[in-house]
Amino acid sequence: MNIIEMKNIKKDYPLGETVVHALRGIDLSVEEGGFISIVGPSGSGKTTLLNLIGCIDTPTEGSVKIGGEEITTLDDTDLTNIRLFKVGFIFQTFNLIPVLNLIENVEFPLLLMKENRLTKEEIRERARQCVEEVGLKEFIDHRPAELSGGQRQRVAIARALVTKPQIVLADEPTANLDSETGASILTLMKQLNKTEKTTFIFSTHDPDVLKYATDVVKIRDGLIVDKTDSSKYLRQSGVRKKPGPAKAASPAGRRK
């Protein structure tokens, strides 16, 4: 079953008197439980594509279905609910709420869910588990300003995973992480991908991230130019696929 279906997606951005055609007609289907990497040079439209899938932006033209639901006709409230309940987003630059401490940042989306029927204690417990999984247990009371860039990124990852979304979108998720921490996070994601059937879609340039992907979508000038399995892509790119979950099974919580 396809959890994401995009047909003839076009996205234009006005730029002064000209129009930038960020996406020029994208067709993309992603099966539930997929682990997809989107690759392409800067300005090719990777982030725009992720934004459309994550209901952060709407296309100028075309159809986007998330879990079978057409989102291009939804209003802001419904789009926000999809972001809250179905999608976890890890931004390229880790955005945390500066006035909340680490654990409060992680539990933030759970607190927004009025329908989750979890008690405060349950919410706190689930957030604590996620924090442990990203290796930041001892920083639980720290505010974002007291954390390193990598630690903040891991908080953002924990926050994206805490709601157990159907889809996790990540824009350069390991950009601020050292290779060891990055590997441990990716291992965690892979684990969730297998156990929870969570669909992961990454935008990345990092060959180490690509090693974890099942499929790679290559995008250039707003168009998908290739969609292939990751092994083939890595072979073509001259990178040997060697998943490294064992190497970073227990992520460290040190400051970068």
């Binding site: 972001r83 987003f89 390229q92 709420i97 006035v99």
Partner: protein, 505 residues
């Protein structure tokens, strides 16, 4: 809700500078507003109390033929219509449960004649003086001489009128048998003390509504001033009602007519040469009716022994109510009763009757409220600007919140909570500071001779005061300011999208 409050409170602490700016503005605004409310409240209360209790009562009854409701400060001293059929009006007033007491008075403008031809004027109220004092809480203070008894004849000249008479007609009025007191002389009179033309009586000429005139000499019994708002009432002199009626030729069918022997009639009317050739010198008045017929009776001369003041002619009736708060409803009730009884009278609330004084008070009130509103307008603009800037500086934070699933209402609630907390703390402190200031100002008992300030004070002493309702109004105004000041920043914050945050990064 707890999450919103938590984030809002921490944001206030995080953005201390902006919170402080907004807080100080709200503090000052709330303080000025509270003081303003105290002043306005005291002014209204003071004016109401002083004018109602000491000058007019809550309701003023006048002739239904009187065109304008403004009967106290009539333009150019224009005469007030005579109430026809006072008996009927009195019966209606006496039968009303809502009325505590009432006092009929004559009111008019007389000329003051001088031997040298100079003419001045005097506003006079014709009253039974003791009744007047009882009705209006001994509002008349004696400066010199003595006050009138109910049956006494004479005029009580206000110190304001005495000064004006001296300024305009060059003679100084002094009660008979009372030596000149330098302390009571005006600076001009004091400078001319040796050559002062001191007089114990005054020749007044009144004009009837039929344009006949009568002049009488009145003994100055006393010099008076008003305890409250003397600056506004200083031109009103009080004379006994009998003399008042004489000078204005108000003669009624109820007046007792004395049959005078024929031999004395000629002597009494010796200045009327025509009458010497007539059969009857004294006209008889139709006493068969109790109703007062102005057109028939006014202006006629009769020889009177004693006037029945209770059933005579009056211009106004000041009414005090048992419930001073039920002015409009009581006036309406009275008017219905007058109509039902066929009485030619109209009841109007005191505010309408005092005309321009009420208007000035309204203007003063409006100006004070306007000043407070101006302060708030400025506060709203500054707060609005500060919060809008704050919203724009927090695009990443707000956009990220929206990206992870916060609805626009959550963002709005967060902003509103931030402003509400600042408003509650700072505004609350401002209201308390304002209340303390009002209490201090009240205790100082500031006085002023300036009549505009007296209006603002609501009396001679500045006694700003706040009651529970003023505080409630203050809190409501503060809430309104908070909401108004937050509306635009809320709009700005609500418009921030996750995409804005991403693009900014």
């Amino acid at each position: 809700m707890g999450l919103i409050i938590k984030i809002a409170w921490r944001n206030i602490q995080r953005h201390r500078g902006k919170s402080l700016v907004v807080g100080i503005i709200l503090f000052l605004g709330a303080m000025v507003m509270t003081i303003g409310n105290g002043v306005v409240s005291a002014m209204e209360k003071g004016l109401k109390e002083n004018i109602m209790n000491r000058f007019t009562g809550q309701i003023v009854v006048m002739s239904s033929r009187q065109e304008q409701d403004n009967v106290i400060f009539t333009p150019l001293g224009k005469d007030v219509e005579v109430i026809a059929g006072f008996d009927k009006v009195k019966k209606v007033l006496s039968s009303q449960d809502c009325i505590a007491k009432f006092l009929p008075v004559g009111k008019g403008l007389t000329l003051i004649l001088n031997d040298n031809g100079d003419v001045g004027y005097a506003l006079v109220l014709g009253v039974r003086f003791e009744d007047y004092q009882k009705m209006f809480k001994n509002n008349i203070q004696l400066v010199e001489g003595k006050l009138l008894g109910n049956e006494d004849r004479g005029i009580l000249v206000s110190s304001g009128s005495r000064k004006r008479v001296y300024d305009e007609q060059d003679f100084w009025l002094q009660p008979e048998g009372v030596p000149l007191d330098e302390k009571t002389l005006t600076p001009e009179a004091l400078a001319n003390k040796g050559r002062l033309d001191v007089r114990n009586s005054i020749v007044m000429m009144g004009t009837s509504q039929e344009n006949t005139t009568m002049d009488i000499r009145m003994n100055v019994t006393g010099i008076i001033r008003y305890s409250y708002l003397n600056e506004f009432w200083k031109n009103f002199n009080l004379m006994d009602i009998e003399s008042f009626r004489e000078v204005f030729n108000y003669v009624t069918a109820n007046d007792v007519v004395t049959e005078v022997p024929k031999d004395k009639q000629k002597l009494l009317d010796r200045d009327n040469f025509d009458s010497l050739f007539g059969d009857s010198v004294v006209e008889k008045v139709d006493t068969g009716t109790k109703n007062y017929d102005v057109s028939k009776l006014m202006g006629r001369r009769v020889v009177r022994k004693k006037v029945s003041v209770d059933s005579g002619a009056y211009n106004l009736i000041f009414v005090k109510l048992k419930d001073p708060g039920a002015i409009n409803s009581s006036a309406e009730k009275l008017n219905r009763a007058f109509a039902a009884a066929g009485a030619e009278a109209r009841a109007v609330p005191w505010k309408k009757a005092i005309g321009q004084l009420g208007d000035i008070a309204m203007i003063m009130r409006g100006a004070t409220i306007g000043f407070v509103m101006l302060i708030f307008f400025v506060a709203i603009i500054i707060i609005m600007n500060t919060l809008s800037m704050a919203a724009l500086e927090r695009v990443s934070e707000i956009g990220m919140m929206r990206a992870v699933g916060a609805q626009k209402s959550f963002i709005a609630g967060m902003f509103l909570a931030e402003t509400a907390i600042i408003s509650f703390v700072s505004g609350g402190a401002g209201i308390i500071a304002g209340a303390v200031t009002v209490a201090v100002l009240n205790s100082l008992g500031i006085t002023s001779e300036n009549h505009i300030l007296q209006l603002l004070f609501g009396g001679d002493v500045f006694r700003p005061a706040l009651d529970g309702m003023d505080i409630v109004i203050g809190v409501v105004e503060l809430a309104l300011v908070t909401v108004l000041a937050t509306l635009y920043p809320l709009k700005v914050a609500r418009r921030i999208t996750p995409l804005d945050a991403i693009m900014r990064d």
